[in-house]
Symmetry: C2
Subunit: 131 residues, 2 copies
Amino acid sequence: MTARMTRQRTAVVEALDELADFRSAQQLHEALRARGESVGLATVYRALQALAEASEVDVLRAEDGESLYRRCARREHHHHLVCRMCGRTVEIDGPTVEAWASKVAAAQGFDDIEHTIELWGTCADCRAAAH
Amino acid sequence: MTARMTRQRTAVVEALDELADFRSAQQLHEALRARGESVGLATVYRALQALAEASEVDVLRAEDGESLYRRCARREHHHHLVCRMCGRTVEIDGPTVEAWASKVAAAQGFDDIEHTIELWGTCADCRAAAH
DNA sequence: CGATCTTTGACAATCGTTCTCAACAAGCGT
DNA sequence: ACGCTTGTTGAGAACGATTGTCAAAGATCG
């Protein structure tokens, strides 16, 4: 039950730190390959899963359903503004929104409330790159 | 290019109306089967896809990534409070949130902004049913 | 160092969803 | 009502992300 520190897990964390923005498991796997680190894809998935459970990384779903991972600066609850082309991410928080969400849900008699609030857009660079 | 009204499409729309809450394509397919209507799964997916494009149905992704569909009362933009157990849905709108979202995104130089704002919870009935 | 016990990785298996393509049927004109 | 044209259907294959399998490998501890 004790989490062991392995070469592979360290490598995944390093890749996350290096890439900074939201990336898919497969992108991370490829980045590790490119760097010469040999890590199995399944292992990357397992590492990310473990990190997510430990709240070490944030997970969100791209519009096509793929899971994206990122090591965020703040560990407290927050949301993201993500570029759908390059993954560039800006952390945002919205105290107003939080309050609104829980108030609305409670008013309807719902429990165990969770909310998904993510903003997607095209960042200035990608817009420029697309002509 | 003209959309044809087929037995299958009508059936899918009927199933949606009957079930009222957010359902997966597979759930709808099964409901049709159970009712005696013979409709292929692929056809259900295609019908839902077409309906979604025409803004006839709302689509959202469950926490496990599955797509859920629903015919909403209002066709204007709005959000949902959904029971993660039974799919029961309450339509909500948050003018405050909308404004907040576009303001934040624009401030960061992002374009083509879209936002995902969904609330998940356990409705009173499901809470009771779980003891 | 050695025993223990988690972790790894190549590959198979899942699961939702989309694709393929020949058979089929709406809608239109006659 | 009758073909024609052309969008639609359905069974099954294909796909892509993710998870499961299990024997071999390696971390940790005494």
